[in-house]
């Protein structure tokens, strides 16, 4: 996956978890929590989806890396670059 595709993969996951949120206006540098109605259970869902979709384990100590879109891409790109994008 390219960086853009990793970003798209994260967007796909968030839109499944929070279907009522308008993700079109997302600001990549800002905390996801400050922009959308996402709680700690939603972040757990993101972790579970990453495991399911990409066979990727995010250890608990790294959960903070998922705080914004930019930091998520930064953290996930090296780990997902050899994967294919699935929706």
């Amino acid at each position: 996956m390219t960086r853009d595709q990793v970003r798209q993969a994260i967007l796909n996951i968030i839109s499944d978890i929070a279907p009522d949120e308008d993700l079109g206006a997302i600001k990549d540098e800002e905390k996801l929590r400050d922009q959308f109605d996402l709680d700690s259970m939603d972040f757990l869902d993101i972790v579970m989806e990453l495991r399911k979709r990409f066979n990727l384990e995010v250890p608990e100590k790294d959960y903070q890396e998922l705080v914004s879109m930019a930091s998520s891409v930064e953290y996930l790109f090296p780990r997902l670059k050899d994967d294919e994008l699935v929706s």
Partner: protein
Amino acid sequence: MAKDWLKGIKSAYDTIVIGSGLAGLTAANKLAKLGYKVLILEHHYNLGGLATWFKRKGGHILDISLHGFPTGMIKTCRKYWTQEIADSIVRLKNIRFDNPQFSFWTNFDKNDFTRLMKDRFGIVKETIDDFFQTVRAMNFYDDLSMTTRELFEKFFPGRTDVHRLLMEPITYANGSTLDDPAITYGIVFANFMDKGVYTFKGGTNELIKKMKKELLKNGVDIRTHCMVERVVVNDKTVQGVEVQGRMIPAKTVLSNSNILSTIHKLTGDEHFTPEFLDEVKKVRLNDSSCQVYMGLKRGEKIDNVGDLLFTSQEKEFSSASLLEPETTSRTFSFYYPETRPGLNMYSIVASTNARFKDWAHLTRQEYEKKKKLLIDRTLDALEKYVPDVRKKIDHLEASTPVTFKRYTAHPNGVSFGTKFEGLSISKDLPKQIAGLFHAGSVGIIMSGWLGAANYGVIVSNEVDKFLHAVSQPQPELETVSV
């Protein structure tokens, strides 16, 4: 020949869930949706644990768990159950307090509490806002040394009336006291204050029916009347469970039984390290409940006197006096015909917090007498709100901590799990025995409708992580040539 309740089960499972409380059911559903083979074993004939109900002659359906949970349950049901279940959640707007210190109705959210605290209790707006901000920001990783009493004293020193307003409903919801860590209070209270109190339209029976349908759709095998005898462990690793004299192999076991029963009774102390068992010894069980169930005669009507009524004749709030068998502090849950559309019946459930020891060691005669007294006192209290209620009632019965013990198999019949320290024991279980997990009412914050369901999801993440790791191809061992 006795009926084989296990008939038709598979030869092995990825996960066996022991018990079908909300945590067990939600975990089972999540794991099944991830593609795992899941079996639920429940000793009772109904699913739901304390999220349950019973039926009585005359068309009465009576709910056990207090109706009332935070708005977060809508999202939890949508994400981990179905849109249909989420859509059946409705708000209860008539929450009522009546005690010697104050008496009013509220819709139990932040705006209304702010108004009440300002106008009725004369608290300055800045203090109220500061208090709400503080509880909203509380989380699991915060300092545990501050108690709820200290939190209240910090913001509202000497104001026992305000303490009562803030504490009493939460005590009924999860059995917590002023001496429990402030964070356990803050997390639960802030959840309620977000948008008020909610319930399921259709009642608990409809909810569990919908959940069962969804579980079956997702391929979960469900067997009731099956009391698990033992979790089978070999070499610090789960092998399966023994039930009705039969061993069912499983890669993981998720116990939704009480955490202490899971360790001492189902698994056995011999499988745990002495250090861990020392920590287990420190776990305090929470309290239990007494309830009085009242079904009104068909055709009888009562006015709307509130959905939830917190009533007491105690001069001030006290966590200890609330547990006394003679307590006047109780919650009335009123079920109007809107609760179960089509049934057109009214029912009322009165709940008090209670201790097992006050009920456990009585003769049959003493027990029955004490139960009758409980019913009489409850009706006396109710007369104030529903005049002539005795004449309107068709069905009347009571449950005690002994009843709770019989139906849940929980030690001391606890209805609120354990105090805070139970949570870390529950979380650390898999470090002691590979493949053994626990989800259920622990630590106060993982209790109640929302806490239990969410904890089921949190633990299913751990189970998934474990199953995912064991299913990965193992790296080949390097052979050492000599």
